[in-house]
């Protein structure tokens, strides 16, 4: 394995981990409500931008980060309460437009509350690159990979071992049946938006020291997270993580070996190619239609 390949792989994994976190947010909301939340990318932006302004106000990371995540989660809960809940039963297109409207609104709000400039966060623990197998990795990348791994483990514990997690899982399988066994599906839907928003915010904070953040950083991250979720198969947790990592690696590899001009297009070329042959993504449920 050449050092160059190793370098691209490490960079790809870092970017991919971020896509995976965003994709998990898409999947959690989709499972609870069958809504694709196109405002998911704005949570990433809110996480990063809120941390920037809180640290600028003199707060240490240990305080600023939890506050920023809580702020994003609150916005997520408000989005569910005031925009998605009142439109229950609307068609797929209508819900897509509502969440896109919300994302435009939040971006406009961020522009007014903050500004249009790019901001960089200080890396959590220094910026001396660490050498691994001929390649180097930033300490911040290790943070990204480590925190993502921890979140994935925590989520699998949450959905597999806790009552609330199992209730959310049950709702995703069959809403009506879940309601019949006494699960409060409206609460599940409400909480899923908060959880997804928090995940998005974490992604935004982790990546901000590496790629900088700004009011419109959520557009591309949101779309690529959506692509990762679709690639893995909507609603599949494993799929979201695999899809995210695969997109991240493919993107860095093609930017390194082929052409960096089309770096942002690669994700969409891959998703089209995969959907041509596997219409439900890699791990998606294959259903049949009832008449």
């Amino acid at each position: 394995m050449s050092a160059q390949f190793m370098q691209y792989l490490l960079t790809g994994l870092t970017v991919g981990a971020i896509y995976a976190l965003v994709a998990l947010g898409f999947s959690i909301i989709f499972n609870a409500s069958h809504v694709i939340n196109f405002a998911q990318g704005e949570f990433v932006m809110i996480g990063g931008m809120a941390t920037v302004s809180l640290t600028a106000a003199g707060l240490p990371y240990l305080l600023a980060i939890p506050l920023a995540i809580a702020a994003a989660a609150l916005v997520g809960l408000a989005l569910e309460k005031f925009a998605v809940e009142p439109a229950r039963g609307a068609s797929v297109v209508t819900l897509i437009i509502i969440t896109i409207g919300a994302s435009i609104f939040l971006r406009g709000l961020a522009m007014v509350v903050w500004d249009k400039r790019f901001h960089a966060l200080k890396p959590f623990t220094g910026d001396t690159p660490i050498a691994i197998a001929g390649a180097t990795i930033l300490p911040q990348s290790l943070w990204v990979l480590g925190v993502t791994l921890a979140i994935v483990l925590a989520l699998s514990w949450f959905f597999g071992r806790t009552l609330l997690g199992k209730a959310m899982l049950a709702t995703s399988h069959n809403r009506l049946a879940a309601q019949l066994v006494g699960i409060n599906v409206r609460l599940v839907l409400f909480l899923s938006f908060g959880l997804s928003a928090a995940l998005g915010a974490v992604a935004g904070i982790l990546i901000a020291p590496i790629t900088t953040t700004s009011y419109d950083v959520g557009v591309m991250l949101g779309l690529k997270g959506f692509a990762a979720a679709i690639l893995g198969g909507l609603g599949s947790g494993v799929g979201a993580v695999v899809g995210g990592l695969a997109l991240g690696i493919a993107e860095t590899m093609s930017a390194g070996y082929l052409s960096s001009a089309y770096k942002d297009a690669i994700a969409f070329v891959i998703i089209l190619a995969v959907l041509f042959f596997m219409p439900s993504g890699l791990f998606g449920k294959r259903g049949s239609e009832r008449v």
């Binding site: 509502i98 942002d264 998703i271």
Partner: protein, 325 residues
């Protein structure tokens, strides 16, 4: 005769023609003409897109890509290679139709969110090709476009363009209404309610979906070509994801499965940003809020909601008559 005129098809077409003919009475300056032309061009795209979304029940988050492809195809062939504009427009339209057909066949097998993703991806790829291949397209800075000339006659000035776009909009609406009333249109509505059901009664769902996808792409491409020639300059923003969203919002805002709703949606959402300019920094916020608000409170769109209100009122009046009699 009167009943025929009152039917939504003829009556609606006449009403639209009247509106187009009378509108210049209130268009007091060039700026208003300019907005009216933009409304007309967007309306042509929306009438086509409505066939796909409203009638066939499919979704496309990438139609700005076709609009951009039409605009840039015309711009490059006519301005860089000196083709006659009409020939350039024809060649571009055929190329876009071929692209829509080739891509449409595999992606229209997809459903719901997967189809949304595929069309979104297609639109973004077209957008990125336009911004990256700057040797041909001028990149993010855009490209100047020669005016539209037919034979020796050069189409210039807002007034001339107004009538051209108005006539083409009428033609687009007429084509769409005829398609909807044809066996193919009934097939589309059948597969909207159930694809399996439609196939059981012998409708080739795949073929019909691809057909309507190509038709809507052609409408978008032609409108794009016209927009490029009209404004004399085109930038990649017209092919961007946000423009795709604006187009879909126009269709849904006006009312899905309502051809005249698509025209109303285009009119309202094209003029809205002009009005919102007074909000300056808050423009984006207000636009997002309007998008959310209308979809939450009028999920069926304006025209069908208003039509229902009228019908309810008429029924109530009829009930009153009955009670009195």
């Amino acid at each position: 005769m009167l009943a025929r005129l009152a039917s939504p098809r003829t009556g609606g077409l006449l009403a639209l023609a009247a509106a187009i003919a009378l509108l210049p009475l209130v268009l007091s300056n060039k700026y208003f003409y300019d907005i009216a032309i933009l409304v007309g061009l967007n309306a042509i795209v929306c009438v086509g897109l409505n066939l796909l979304i409203g009638y066939a029940g499919q979704i496309s988050l990438g139609h700005a890509g076709f609009f951009g492809a039409g605009a840039y195809g015309s711009a490059i062939l006519a301005s860089r290679y000196g083709w006659p504009p009409l020939a350039a427009m024809l060649a571009t339209t055929l190329a876009v139709a071929a692209l829509a057909y080739l891509v449409g066949r595999p992606i229209l097998r997809l459903r719901g969110h997967y189809l949304a993703m595929a069309t979104l991806g297609l639109g973004i790829i077209i957008f990125m090709v336009i911004t990256t291949e700057d040797k041909f397209t001028g990149g993010p800075d855009g490209i100047a476009v020669v005016p539209l000339s037919i034979g020796g006659f050069v189409l210039q000035g807002e007034r001339v363009w107004y009538w051209v776009v108005g006539a083409l909009l009428l033609l687009a609406v007429w084509l769409a209404l005829n398609l909807i009333e044809s066996p193919a249109g009934r097939a589309l509505r059948a597969l909207h309610s159930s694809e399996v059901g439609a196939e059981v009664v012998g409708i080739n769902a795949a073929e019909h979906k691809v057909m309507v996808f190509v038709i809507s792409a052609v409408f978008a491409s032609v409108a794009g070509s016209l927009a490029a020639h009209y404004s004399g300059f085109i930038t990649p923003g017209k092919a961007a994801f946000l423009h795709s969203i604006e187009l879909v919002t126009m269709v849904v805002f006006g009312g899905m499965a309502s051809t005249f709703g698509a025209v109303v949606g285009a009119a309202v959402l094209t003029t809205l940003p002009q009005l919102l300019a007074v909000f300056e920094d808050y423009e984006m916020m207000v636009f997002g809020a309007v998008m959310m608000g209308t979809m939450i409170f009028l999920p069926r769109g304006v025209v069908p909601s208003v039509a229902r209100l009228f019908r309810a009122r008429r029924n109530a009046a009829a009930d009153d008559e009955e009670r009195k009699g």
